[in-house]
């Protein structure tokens, strides 16, 4: 029993709360979105809910490890693996839908990632896991199947990450207003942050690395929130603050033009 595990549990709980809160805030903003952006919005809501659902059992898992309850630890690991396996699905749908604009194509390709997730889960449950290895900071498991790790790396990690990087490149290569660039690029960077560190978290066999990965997942969640709801100071710093103005009367404008002509 040591405090490091409780710190880990607290970080997991913070990720859970912030992910659920972000998903809820996004879902509530549905009315502000057009029909074209709603599918992407809902895929984001599902994505953040899955992040929350992954870290809720993980929080309990860390507390179980702290209390020395190995059975509960294993049970929670298995439970967390279910939402985790499907995190790539809404992410792939989101990127494809935003780029291609076709719901059907995006849904069909996302289905492929459901298969990746399902086969990863199947191997995880049939081949079992080795662990837990409880240390000062963490409780670690390793999957007893090389194929599962390969599916995990290729299907759930490399392809979605490549999609995010490709999309980011597409945005950076375009000339567009600063606020639009911020609005499109920052959520992607945040999603990439969370997604990549979640995968690092699940695969690592180094306890400190797991803790650091979770801290970065938390940072990514906060970053995503800031991307959608930037505070005024951040808007000023980034130069994306919308100037508050009222339209100038046209008649006055005519007079000014005449005055200029007189000069």
């Amino acid at each position: 029993m040591n405090a490091g595990l409780l710190v880990n549990a607290t970080i997991c709980f913070a990720i859970t709360i912030s992910s659920f809160a972000f998903a809820w805030v996004l879902a509530r903003s549905e009315d502000e979105h057009t029909d074209k952006s709603k599918p992407a919005l809902w895929s984001l809501v599902i994505l953040w809910s899955l992040v929350g659902l992954t870290y809720l059992p993980t929080t309990i898992r860390m507390v179980a490890a702290y209390l020395g309850r190995e059975n509960l630890d294993l049970m929670m690991y298995s439970l967390a693996a279910i939402p985790f396996s499907f995190v790539a699905v809404p992410l792939v749908f989101f990127i494809l839908y935003v780029i291609v604009g076709n719901k059907k194509i995006s849904a069909y390709i996302s289905l492929l990632f459901v298969l990746f997730g399902a086969s990863y889960l199947m191997l995880l449950f049939t081949k079992g896991v080795i662990g837990p290895f409880v240390s000062n900071y963490s409780s670690l498991f390793t999957i007893n199947s090389d194929i599962a790790i390969n599916i995990y790396l290729m299907g759930l990690f490399v392809i979605p990450t490549a999609m995010i990087i490709g999309f980011l490149l597409l945005i950076f290569l375009q000339k567009m207003p600063k606020h639009l660039r911020y609005r499109t690029a920052l959520p992607l960077v945040a999603i990439s942050f969370v997604f990549d560190f979640m995968l690092t978290d699940m695969i690592t066999m180094v306890d400190v690395m797991q803790l650091v990965a979770r801290i970065f997942v938390l940072i990514g969640t906060v970053q995503a929130f800031l991307a959608y709801f930037p505070p005024l100071t951040l808007q000023e710093k980034l130069g994306i603050k919308k100037y508050q103005y009222e339209l100038y009367d046209d008649e006055d404008l005519d007079i000014d033009v005449e005055d200029d002509l007189d000069v």
Binding site: K36, S37, L41, I99, G101, P187
Partner: protein
């Protein structure tokens, strides 16, 4: 080079440039269509009637004839080789290439606009 000239696309591109305050050149549907027909017939004589096939729905014979004289002939984009017959010059080819770039810019801008529209 494709033989078809997509009049609707050219109109959409012209309207896009007009919305940016560019009413001449890439924002002028008559200019676009004339140059498209001339560019398609590079190295050949373009008949005035062929140009009118595309421009009639936007302008009358007089204004197209006037544009040919005051813009295309005056600026050296075409050379008149017979009555109602024109040949595009190297400068005209440059203008035609610029027009292609203006279409590509419109498409890129439209695609990006749609992507941003779909971003929640």
């Amino acid at each position: 080079m494709s033989d078809d000239i997509d009049v609707e696309l050219e109109q959409a591109v012209a309207e896009f440039y007009q919305s940016l305050g560019i009413h001449q050149g890439p924002g002028d549907i008559q200019y676009r269509l004339i140059l498209k027909v001339l560019g398609r017939n590079e190295g050949k004589i373009t008949e005035f009637s062929e140009i009118r096939k595309y421009t009639d729905q936007f302008a009358d014979k007089g204004s197209i004839g006037s544009k040919m004289k005051t813009v295309f002939q005056l600026e050296g984009l075409v050379e008149k080789v017979k009555r109602g017959g024109y040949v595009i010059t190297d400068k005209g080819i440059t203008a035609s290439n610029f027009l292609k770039d203006s279409t590509a810019f419109y498409k890129k801008n439209k695609r990006m606009g749609e992507i941003i529209e779909r971003m929640p």
